[in-house]
Symmetry: C2
């Protein structure tokens, strides 16, 4: 059994997307387990197969990939009330592209993949919850690709601040630079310029 406050957090998140009878909501909550992580803890390594999704209660988690020069690229960041996993691997059952690492000591709820897939048959309304989450994740990825093409790095940084309020003060600049698609050197110059002009 997870703590009542964690249960409420997850139920509130589900309630944003779908109205569930109490029985279904309780069933859903019964499938997740709680996990406390340390900073720098790795939840999944690139090339392993993803078997879990993580709902972040507290803390910050990143998913990053290594390119063909072994440089890191931050693909996703998750803070409070976000789900994170290697969706490619979770769905295809192929070795994943991401390493999932806690940037801070974090509290997460863990949903095992096989239980998630069982829910779809048992409670079709939960399929809607995951369809909408999937739509949101897809749309957000499409928008990020578009932003990388059409917005300046400064505009992308301002978007980042809106999307992740306060996070710029919690995690190293290099991860933010990577997420918005610039080098740490460029990022540092850009921030100095923005401060001077503000």
């Amino acid at each position: 059994m997870i703590k009542p406050e964690y249960r409420e957090r997850l139920l509130a998140h589900i309630g944003r997307y779908v109205q569930l009878p109490a029985e279904e909501a309780e069933y859903f909550v019964s499938l997740v387990s709680h996990r406390s992580t340390t900073a720098r803890e790795i939840l999944l390594r690139q090339c392993d197969i993803a078997n879990e999704s993580y709902f972040v209660l507290e803390g910050c988690i990143r998913a990053y990939t290594l390119d063909n020069k072994a440089d890191e690229h931050v693909m996703h960041l998750a803070t409070n009330d976000w789900w994170i996993t290697d969706m490619y691997s979770l769905i295809t059952r192929k070795p994943g592209n991401y390493t999932i690492e806690c940037l801070e000591a974090s509290e997460v709820l863990v949903m095992p993949r096989e239980k998630q897939w069982d829910i779809y048959d048992k409670y079709p309304r939960m399929e809607r919850y995951f369809r909408v989450l999937m739509e949101n994740a897809y749309v957000s990825t499409l928008q990020r690709i578009h932003d990388n093409l059409s917005l300046s790095a400064e505009e992308r940084y301002l978007n980042f601040e809106r999307k992740f309020p306060g996070l710029v003060h919690r995690i190293p600049n290099k991860h933010i630079a990577s997420y918005i698609g610039v080098t740490p050197e460029f990022f540092s110059k850009m921030k100095k310029r923005m401060l001077k002009n503000s």
Copy 2:
């Protein structure tokens, strides 16, 4: 009523993902209409709101976006049995990022957005069809981002040939170059080099 052969094509596609009772399948088919397009015909313009999805029966359709220098980027290509739309705009109801243009005279089935959303309530099994399509689209986009970071342009071109068999002979090189993320000049040199080495 759409032609029986178009009906069969759409039903076969649905059948790959979900088993439907005849009544539900018929209802789904009753929602789409058929449209013949000319080459170069525009189905949606960037900054308009997407109200339809297109299932390609014959032909080839691209979704492209303009960056902040007004250069074109081919974001999606759809050939036989693929759905295409501006998913960002369709879901968020905000002005879209894509222009959707037929590269060849095409035959498509058109699904109006409001009817698609109605189906979710009427027939939950159809929600599964769209959830799985959404998962596939999302996963394919994540994989493409990863390929752009981790594969050479040659490898990406070979992936393109596998993903879209024969399409390289049907559409201009500049669109393929754009899809795999290289300039037309680089693409032309690369193909010459690949031919010489083969």
